[in-house]
Amino acid sequence: MALPRLILVTGKGGTGKSTVAAALAMALARRRPTTLGDLDGRGTIARLIGAAHEGETLEVITITPHGELEAFIDRIVPLRSVSRRILQSRTFGYVTAALPGLEAFLMLERLRLMAGKAALEDRFAVIDAPATGHALELLAVAKGIRKLAPTGTLHRLSSAVEEFLIDRNRCGVMLTVTPEKLALREALEAAATLRDLDIECVGAIVNMAPTALFTAAEIAKLGTVEAHARLAERRRELNEFADRAREELELAGIAVTELPMLYEAALGAEEVEALSGRLETELLDRQAHEAESTNR
């Protein structure tokens, strides 16, 4: 099965969503022009990628709820000076707060348009989405809006967004996990919720998986260097848990790709590039291979 045009990357806070999204976009950009959408608004992504890597095949854009609202108002009020003043009015702020889910919905509509454009131009889009809880709320908004709107334009729009979300060619979610119980639990719960929403989970990245170094028998010999034994045991535990995470995720029908823990004092563009190389061989090549064998 081929990857969808737009991939949302989400996971528990601290599992390295932004790093994974950046690495994935970099890997994809070596095959097709790719857009990396930053919903964080702090420029984290731009820092991770480094200006040198942005170019013809990789563009980084920032998507904010407020920006989408502005674009929406601009569509209704073509006169920019007027639309800007409306947006600045305090009252308008209160009212949009009262219009539940409007901003979130407009973000989804934007993602739909991005995926449509990507399909048309044979591109990919990767979205550095909020942490799992917020991301799943966001994805459920279209359904909520449609329930609120039995007929009318917004109903049609929300139906279009919903169709987009469940279209495996256009939209999918990539989950990030670290070798920790809580991160794994959140990923498994998210996968179940996505199934309920009928949204494709394209896979999970077990991130920060340590390379194996010690066997249990070796650690048993370390009685005389207790502190080092603990450190070795910690590594073995993390390693073992990464394997367990892979097993449990695969058991839940989720394809797993592992990214190694980078034992580097700083994480910058160079490290993200190394991870993107890993994703290219472990994820994209495999995907291409599978797609080929299905076609045959």
Partner: protein, 365 residues
């Protein structure tokens, strides 16, 4: 650890733990509460989204949303020790709030039956935050309680929680109602051009959508009309409580590089609100690393020694990464605010004993 690098709890009546999602606010809140309770205080802790094991430890297993008394047996608790735990249910709190404040059964049913309230009330801007605040006032009114520890919903921004009462009030306030409504005469003459323009846009939105969403929102907001005074009163009390001298605000975060800027923004936002930040607690920091010389002196096969050395180097790199992040964070912490490192337990906290251990490294005695 030096005393100045630990949290000191004096005669506080309220500790509020704020911070982004996934940093362990709930665990630290529970650890603080348990520690104070064992020390002999009557403590209530309100949690938002604890892991199942922690829930079990606090007696708040699945589906349990009422206040639970936590057994402190075997923990060496002082006289007078009491710990109660409560899991916030925003929707139930909201329903109860409306039951209490609604001026009539008709008004109550109008809200509870409103499609906006039913479908989206808990995702509505700040509702979960507001409900945490509401519950807090309720707990604070109980004079038998010596200390309340409040865990808050995960926030994109620091002010999400602290600002919730004000936003809620503005939402329910007369300006919004007037704007949405067909015009209440009292406000009729005071619309600015901008308000009129905004109103036109909203009308256009309503036409475009063909939803009558606005009239529903209006109905929703308007049904709060008779309850506004009650809400305003509660919100004012909440604001006073946050700023009270006996309240300690703790910002919880982790030392990951991607989190530093977000934490810095939290700090700036809190100071912009005129709030005193009691401490910044950096959760799950790495424990000090053992000395390399121990490997050299050990009687072990050379190959195993090389592995130990490599493992130490690897963790050393991570430790340097963390130290650099902590240094960047320290620059953003205002003078007079403590930066406290809460060392990683090395495992998922699942028992009260685990919480006691976390607290021992965190709180000065």
């Amino acid at each position: 650890m030096k005393r100045a690098e630990m949290l000191e709890l004096g005669d506080q009546r309220l500790v509020i733990c704020l911070g982004p999602g996934g940093v362990g606010k709930t665990t630290l809140s529970a650890a603080l509460a348990l520690n104070a309770a064992i020390g002999g205080r009557a403590v209530d802790v309100m949690t938002v989204d604890p892991a199942p094991r922690l829930l079990d430890a606090l007696g708040l297993g699945a589906g349990q949303s009422a206040m639970q008394t936590v057994s402190l047996a075997g923990l060496g608790a002082h006289r007078g020790a009491r710990l109660r735990a409560l899991k916030l249910d925003a929707k139930m709190t909201f329903d109860a709030l409306i039951e209490r404040h609604a001026p009539s059964a008709v008004a109550r049913d109008a809200i509870l039956g409103n499609r906006i309230y039913r479908n989206l009330s808990t995702t509505l801007a700040g509702v979960a935050d507001y409900m945490a605040m509401e519950k807090l006032i309720e707990l604070h009114d109980d004079s038998s309680t010596g200390l309340i520890v409040l865990d808050t919903p995960p926030a994109r921004e620091a002010i999400d929680f602290l600002d919730a009462p004000r936003r809620m009030l503005e939402l329910l306030g007369s300006r919004a109602i007037t704007l949405l409504g067909v015009g209440r005469s009292a406000m009729g003459g005071r619309w600015s051009m901008l308000d009129l323009a905004a109103r036109a846009v909203l009308a256009a939105f309503d036409r475009l959508t063909g939803l009558h969403l606005l009239s529903d929102v209006q109905g929703f907001v308007r049904s709060f009309d008779g309850m506004y005074a009650g809400f305003a009163d509660r919100a004012a009390r909440a604001q006073a409580l946050i700023r009270d001298g006996k309240t300690l605000v703790v910002l919880v975060t982790t030392a990951e590089a991607e989190r530093i800027d977000q934490t810095g923004e939290f700090i700036d936002a809190l100071s912009a609100m005129g709030l005193t930040l009691g401490a910044v607690a950096v959760n799950r920091t790495m424990a000090p690393l053992p000395a390399a010389s121990k490997i050299a002196n050990a009687d072990l096969p050379a190959a195993l020694k090389r592995k130990l050395k490599r493992n130490l180097d690897d963790f050393g790199a991570l430790k340097r990464r963390e130290t650099a992040a902590l240094a960047r964070l320290r620059e953003r912490v205002p003078a007079g605010t403590r930066l406290i490192a809460a060392p990683d337990l090395g495992r998922e906290p699942r028992t009260l004993a685990d919480l006691v251990e976390i607290a021992r490294n965190l709180i000065a005695h």
